[in-house]
């Protein structure tokens, strides 16, 4: 997200630092920083739970809000949606108390790296997986909000998309508090920032767009027209343009609807691809036949000329 010029209290730890919580007295030993974000810093640490991700926020209110969300996630039935939450505590220093929490360390490959290495056909599959998880989250009454490749990693094999940072998750019907412009419906002028399933589905469509090129294009003068034209004319996106556009315009009211539409499109494009290869094979065959015909014709003409020559001059 945005990087601000004015100072922000970034916490830095040297590897080996031991942190003890004020309330629960749990010990954590810092291994290394994992990332510096807009809302805080995440460190990898040893603990009694094994290796965990420790998140320190810039403000205590932010940490508390995120913990509330993680608690809600743990109540959704089935496979865990976000990282599991282990502990919430304060770390007291001379400068003041810092709120932090310990969560499951999800060791995976960033989504876009994974697609770059394995090929774009995986993008559609990860989107299918993502839509299934989003469906469960929406049914529980929540909207992810700040959905973007940076918040998604791929673990496995078997390859599975996982959610890293769920801090932007918002109760359905409220307003989205955190977003990243490229993936935000309001930024592109496609609608409000109300937390509803179609807000997440817009972001999913934009993840698809982002995955095709790896870079994020500028909004430009006429964002709506530019975006749609880009999707329809892009070699990798064109086959899915229909589904992507519908998601952008909020035509799907549930993640499951979009998932079904995408699955259908994938099956269509695959059978179409087969047809194309078949056509090419038959074309090649007929070309060979034509070549052979040409040779035959040439040989017969030479033979005829020779016969004539013999008939006229020798005889």
């Amino acid at each position: 997200m945005t990087e601000h010029l004015s100072k922000k209290q970034t916490i830095k730890f040297t590897p080996g630092t031991i942190i003890v919580g004020k309330w629960h007295q749990k010990q954590y030993q810092i291994i290394k920083p994992l990332g510096y974000g807009a809302r805080g810093t995440v460190f990898l640490a040893h603990s009694e739970y094994g290796r965990v991700a420790l998140k320190f926020g810039f403000d205590n209110a932010g940490v508390t809000s995120e913990v509330n969300v993680l608690n809600k996630f743990s109540k959704v039935q089935g496979e865990p949606l976000g990282p599991s939450l282990y502990d919430v505590d304060d770390w007291v220093t001379k400068k003041g108390a810092y709120a932090f929490y310990a969560m499951e360390y999800i060791n995976g490959t960033p989504l876009l790296d994974c697609i770059r290495v394995r090929g774009f056909e995986w993008a559609a599959i990860f989107v299918l997986q993502l839509l299934k998880d989003l469906g469960r989250l929406h049914e529980a009454g929540w909207v992810f909000g700040d959905l973007k490749p940076d918040n998604l990693v791929v673990t496995g094999p078997p390859l599975k998309i996982r959610w890293l940072d769920v801090g932007g998750t918002t109760q359905m019907g409220r307003s989205i508090k955190e977003y990243t412009e490229f993936f935000d419906r309001g930024y592109w002028g496609f609608g409000t920032r109300k937390a509803e399933p179609s807000y997440d589905l817009f972001a999913v469509a934009m993840i698809f767009v982002n995955a095709a090129e790896g870079r994020r294009m500028e909004k430009g003068q006429d964002p709506e027209k530019n975006l749609i034209r880009y999707i329809q004319s892009h070699r990798k996106l064109a086959p899915y343009a229909d589904v992507i556009t519908q998601a952008l315009y909020g035509k799907f009211s549930t993640a499951e609807q979009m998932r079904k539409a995408l699955l259908k499109k994938i099956n269509e494009t695959q059978s179409e691809a087969k047809r194309i290869t078949k056509n090419q094979v038959t074309k090649r065959k007929s070309k060979k036949k034509a070549e052979w015909k040409g040779t035959f014709l040439l040989v017969s003409i030479i033979l005829l000329a020779y016969t004539l020559y013999v008939a006229l001059f020798i005889m």
Binding site: L5, A61, T64, N68, G186
Partner: protein, 244 residues
Amino acid sequence: MKKGRLKQILLITDGCSNQGEDPSAIAALAKEQGIAVNVIGVVSEDQTMDGGIQEVEDIALAGGGISQIVHTKQLSQTVQMVTRQAMTQTIQGVINQELQQILGDSESMDDLPPEKRGQVMEVVDELGETVNLEVCILVDTSASMEKKLPTVHEALLDLSISLNSRMGSNQFCLYAFPGKRKPIDKLLSWTPKIDSISHVFSKLASGGITPTGPALKEALKSFDKRSRRDLAAYDGAPIEEAND
């Protein structure tokens, strides 16, 4: 806490004030009247803002609000973030006061154990979503700001999208300073939505002086006018009913 209104002044500027009252003093006065003053300092990519930064921070500190220095490009996201953070801060302030009354002097939200803090935070979030909000926006249109105005315009439309996605209602008004003849010109009276302000921004004549203090003073008055109008509307209602 009853669902009242949150009042904010949002000042968007790029440098030091050079005319009229001390802006920090006016901001402190605003704070006394329950109005938070947020300040966003905008710098272009090739520009520094040495003297201005201190003033930006001082005004926000005096006004009980939040300050942020940003590059022009990041303005949209910052405007909505600052507004939201300031709302949360104000609500937390009120809740902390209540907590102190219940739990004793030194207790605030941060002194609660994490589990309890989570519950309080849910109330803060809920209030932030449903509370009614009034934002008076002050845009510095002095000469150096001229190139940044299209971005400011975009950021304000964006703010309107963000806040109107909330459940609570919103009111915005918009002023530019320096004004043509006065220290400040009103561009938009209190309205629930910011749209079609592109024409007001294109007509602005950018001047050389930056009367931030007087501008803040005028913004403060706009809240007075608003509450008086509200009162009148409130008084009117029962009379109409009686006539029926």
